[in-house]
Symmetry: C2
Subunit: 349 residues, 2 copies
Amino acid sequence: MSRQAIAILGAGAMGSALVTPLVDGGHDVRLWGTWLDDAIVAALRRGDVHPGTKAPVPPSGRVFASTELQQAMDGADIVLMAVTSEGLDPVFRRAASHLRAGQTVVTVAKGFFAEPDGQMVLLPTLLESLLPESLKATPIVAVGGPSKAVEVGLRAPTAVSYACRSLAEAQRIADLFATKFYFIEPSDDIVGLEICAALKNVYAIGLGICEGFRQGRGVPHNNTKSALFQVAVEEMALICEKAGGRASSSLGLPGVGDLEVTGEAGRNRVLGELIGGGLTADAAVLQMRERGQTVEGYPAAALGWQYCRQLGLTAAELPLFGALNAILYESADAFEHILEALSRRYPKH
Amino acid sequence: MSRQAIAILGAGAMGSALVTPLVDGGHDVRLWGTWLDDAIVAALRRGDVHPGTKAPVPPSGRVFASTELQQAMDGADIVLMAVTSEGLDPVFRRAASHLRAGQTVVTVAKGFFAEPDGQMVLLPTLLESLLPESLKATPIVAVGGPSKAVEVGLRAPTAVSYACRSLAEAQRIADLFATKFYFIEPSDDIVGLEICAALKNVYAIGLGICEGFRQGRGVPHNNTKSALFQVAVEEMALICEKAGGRASSSLGLPGVGDLEVTGEAGRNRVLGELIGGGLTADAAVLQMRERGQTVEGYPAAALGWQYCRQLGLTAAELPLFGALNAILYESADAFEHILEALSRRYPKH
């Protein structure tokens, strides 16, 4: 039972980082690079550090190129999807034809997916829809929580949540994947976990905006940032519940924990800082694009907002999310809209 | 009803900062400096900025010297205790003889107080015990939440919680004190609020330790920090419930919100960074003392631990608090003890 064959699909930062705990756990690890990862595969095969994260990847994991998907998945017990939300659909379509009964799919992708009919769904729902008819019972486990890839790869202690509709399956995978430095809390709230995983990037932009006020308004706004942190956790809890998940995911590692690490650093925060510093959202996004930096939280704000509207939620229930959408997509003044969100959340009686 | 006479006792950073929202609210504000605040009182009377925070204090509040306590409190509707936890007992003893019926006491002091019999109590309990017999019904309102004094004084949007056994009284004071930039959530959970207010300083040392690991272990530990953040919120919630308060205070502004701002900067974090960077706790505390810097969370760890033991809680239920105590008071290795706390919190099944 202990040693598993695990195919990691996607050799980006997180896919490559997860080689470390899985090799530490004694598993047979195969890292497959997509057609966008050719340079990474070549570097790792040469024994170089990962070109993206500059971190070493344990050589005992085997590395497969994009043309070798079947070989990478051959005999795998677990297939770990480690691609971006945009890559999930095309990569899983290819992988699906190599799946077989008895496997489990684990996914670290975060975000929303727009179905052809315009319906917004969470990524595990997308995966389920792409499973072959005969394999619809394949368990899907989603990963959330504070987990910077490079730190996972360097064995900095990390605690994450693994969620599956079947708690027993979440527990089984958690016990297989956990190491001395990689802690896993199993959960059956895959809906809540996914919502937090996608939306914490949006709220982290809000935290970054408050950091930007230091320059843009000449005064530090740590109090404002912490108030927004708190409102973000509440709003994610409400969205979780409305979607049939649980508020506890927002209060746990996927919400509070992941928002903490995401608000500390990263591109979502940088985008927010530029806006808080005085740029319009359009100008800030453009500036980052020119540097080659995409910001996960920016499209997630629009998709997530549409998802919330599907659930019947509006800016009346989600004043901060509403403000962030207005700031990001309607050129609304960041300070005035954040102030208004706080006054809606904490009204005088 | 609207314009109140408010005596702020203590002209330190927070007492002086609160002059701004209270003057903005149109109140008759009197700021009284203790016998330790003579230089501050002199500076403010000259129209200078506050010597501690370098922030301006609105001149429309009157400033009273330590010999003028009676004048400052004369006709006051509300007495606002803005001294440190150590100063609360001596200052409130003097103030108590000037109290009269119909007043409300608001307190921003945070911490625990050791009764002569060794019993550890929360600060509102201390205040109640010092009230004159005829004034035992005086409502006591405690303030918690993310609130850096200098930012309150500079009108950076701030959201805090005001808690009183009587929710109606908390609401009344909240409506009197709230402004366009100073938001207040009323609460009846004064026990939970006080526990979070005192203990967030302790847990912030833990977050600082993780920051220090960047230097001490050569790798950033943001994942570890966020995991500890999450465990801290859970442990504070448990302590709140065990003490007869509510977990929701830990999940709200007094817990999540205040821990966020306290972990970002300040002396608790600095102490942690020194320890995470490789100093023993004794050496780190000594180094800070030599710079004239006292760290609230350091004594609060010992007092708070005693308080938890009174409640029947041990390191089995509070693995992180237990680890922090061992690190701070038993020269325990920071990394090993934090790793052990995480392994207790997230065991393999």
